[in-house]
Amino acid sequence: MSMVSAIRRVFVTGLGIVSPLGPDSDSNLQSLLCARDAVTTVGSFDVSRTRCKTAGQIPDEWMKDAFPRRRSSSRLHRSARMVAMALHEARESAKSPCPELLIVGTTSGGMSYGELYYRRLLATHSRKGLARLVGNYMPQKPVLDALNANGLRIPTQIVANACSSGSNAIGHGFELVRSGLRGCVACGGYDPICELVFVGFDSLQAATSEKIRPFDRERSGMVLGEGASFLILESEESTTARGATALAEVVGYGMANDTYHLTQPHPSGIGPKLAMQRALRSGGIDPEEIDYVNAHGTATIFNDATEGSAISELLDDVHVSSTKSMMGHALGAAGAIEAAFCVLALREQFLPPNINFVEPDPIWKFKVVANASRWTPLRFALSNSIGFGGANATLILRRV
């Protein structure tokens, strides 16, 4: 491996999204434009004893054709369907690129199969029929299933940096292409909703029984979401040679670890601030050039306080929204989905909305895109992700 000396431009040439806002990028775009609230009551497990009862969920109906209808595919985890669909759409929209590597962020993989395994074992003390659950619960398995479904045989890297995973996967892919180590990569993230994680956030009192209201003065917590999203990142040379269309350009990536606490961000906001500063520096961009921030914005007291302070301090009166207000927090997929939303915002020139917003918090200088999307000229969009363990990641994208 040679030390990298040149820096190449990195284009997004393909995009695929499956989220509670829609089964493809067009339907997600329409949902963003009309400020759709996709958070509904959880139906896949018992929520009678949790404080929070809602989440952004993808109807199984949307994913029924993700794999050919065979007995073997009926055993696959539903996250394999999400990954297969999002990856397929990304490749189709990029007009059949040849990615050399797939980088995927996730936090829980096929955990719901692990839950089912344990429940059945507890109930019957028998392992009969449980092998399929073991075989499909590991985080890499849905990715391999999706690769197989898409006819791809390429190496994978599965990044599990908590809620920053999706951004880190795209960030690493960006750096590989920019440095010339790779010409084309597929990168993104996935996470399906599962009981253990849902209850975990509820036990931390991070989840709300109300609507999710990021950056609102009266915000009361997060709700979970799920989904998958992939971007095809390609060097300028590869894009030109294939005659592919650039949808946006990735120009900056930064990450920071605040080394503070496993679940709480450092109160000073040093984590997101450092990540944003590093992303700006990596792209050679001035803070005042940023037109829109897709914030991590989970609507927890701590997250929004620290992220809000960091954005306010660094980017002043920029437009900010958290699209989690519409679909919940998709954990390892969140950064990938939100980066894809930034591509859509730059391509269509609009600000995605921050719904359920009532009262601004006077301590912040930025402008929340309250309740409705807005058409506006955009050149640079910044996407933040903040995860457990103090993991912070920022991506910056530019209009082409």
């Binding site: 890499q140 391999l144 190496p155 599990a160 509820d202 931390l204 457990f388 993991a391």
Partner: protein, 375 residues
């Protein structure tokens, strides 16, 4: 650009450091087995635990007071690699160091406890103390905090080959980031009866006290442990080749895919020794086909019959042992070798080789390899 192994670390059932583990392996020692019983059903499994005293120093750190076993093990191995490199963690070193952590099952003990509480006592009884430690990147975050590394810290998940993917990921970081001097690659895993139970459903865990490699493929014995490799831009043992790996989609095609993958690595000359991932499962047969076809006269050392299968830690431990084999010009003897592969090295002996191959066939469809060379 050349990347070097600057230090190796480990905490295993055989020793609290890589060096002590190495000495025990060269003496033909086997990690003590204990029995763990399935709490749901009547099965019992042997496993190789790491004695608590081996991680007592890590456990004294306030940050790790409530952490899962996997975090304690990872921290112990990480600090051992720094010590082996003759480095003391210090701000001027740490700010130019990245962490890449490899995990397979992660904090399975806390995860099981948390879910058991949810199922048996109700969601409202779930402990808020357990949940954060169940997250895959908890161990890496703890280690980053202990070392004061505030920038690049990644956790990669995968099967038992994930350590080699992590090592390749780290080489990518070093190639792309001139402001990085080194990268600490750590693999760690804890063991639990649930893990053995789950693998038994695929006939990959044996109920016997020993398992044979390159023999009957009757299943493996799980172990706790962690290993670490500190790589950087100077040193005497070069990481001469690494790869992002290769997937296979069925056991039927695994051997053919593995042969093709190893051929594509373009290993210029035959290595002088191979540290293999043989663990008493189907993986042994895949490796056997590769070694027989491509490296038919190269001695093979398989450490897992002695230390057990520590999943996320095992591939990094293989790399650490390959580094020590080149450093000390010795190759340990493989315990419990079957008769299917003639080139297995069964007695500890000296060697004069300069090139080592680390091979890994994961149980969940991933294959990878790295090469080391004395420079």
């Amino acid at each position: 650009m050349k990347i070097f192994v600057q230090g190796v670390g480990a905490v295993t059932p055989l020793g609290p450091t890589a060096r002590e583990t190495w000495d025990q392996l060269c003496q033909g020692q086997r990690a003590p087995r204990k029995i763990m019983a399935s709490r749901l059903g009547n099965r019992e499994y042997y496993w190789c635990p790491v004695p608590a005293k081996f991680v007592s120093e890590a456990a004294r750190r306030p940050r790790l007071r409530r952490s899962g076993t996997v975090s304690l093990l990872g921290a112990a191995a990480g600090f051992d690699a720094f010590a082996d490199a003759g480095l003391k963690p210090a701000p001027e070193i740490n700010e130019r160091t990245a962490i890449v952590f490899a995990i397979c099952s992660g904090s399975v003990i806390y995860t099981r406890r948390l879910y058991h509480e949810i199922v048996t006592q109700g969601a409202n009884a779930a402990s808020p103390v357990l949940f954060p430690e169940t997250v895959y990147n908890a161990a890496a975050s703890h280690l980053a905090a202990l070392l004061g590394i505030d920038e690049r810290c990644y956790t990669l998940v995968g099967d038992s080959s994930v350590g080699l993917s992590a090592l390749h990921f780290a080489t990518e970081l070093l190639a792309m980031q001139p402001d990085l001097d080194r990268c600490l690659v750590v693999g760690a895993e804890e063991a639990d009866w649930l893990l053995a139970d789950a693998f038994a459903s695929w006939r990959m865990a044996t109920t016997k006290e020993f398992f044979e490699v390159y023999g009957s493929s009757g299943g493996t014995i799980f172990a706790e442990g962690a290993a670490a490799v500190l790589i950087g831009r100077t040193g005497s043992i070069c990481l001469s080749g690494s790869s992002a790996g290769q997937s296979f989609f069925s056991h039927r095609e695994s051997a053919a895919v593995a042969v093709e993958f190893f051929e594509r690595l373009h290993i210029k000359a035959a290595p002088d020794l191979i540290v293999s991932s043989a663990n008493g499962t189907f993986a042994d047969d895949v490796e056997r086909v590769v070694f027989t076809r491509l490296f038919h006269s190269v001695p093979v050392y398989a450490p897992k019959p002695a230390v057990g299968e520590a999943l996320g830690a095992s591939a990094i431990l293989q790399v650490a042992l390959a580094g020590l084999a080149l450093r000390h010009r010795q190759i340990p003897g493989t315990l419990d070798a079957g008769s299917k592969l003639q080139t297995v090295n069964c007695q500890t002996r000296a060697h004069s080789g300069t090139d080592a191959l680390v091979s890994c066939v994961g149980f969940n469809q991933q294959i990878n390899a790295v090469t080391l060379q004395v420079c």
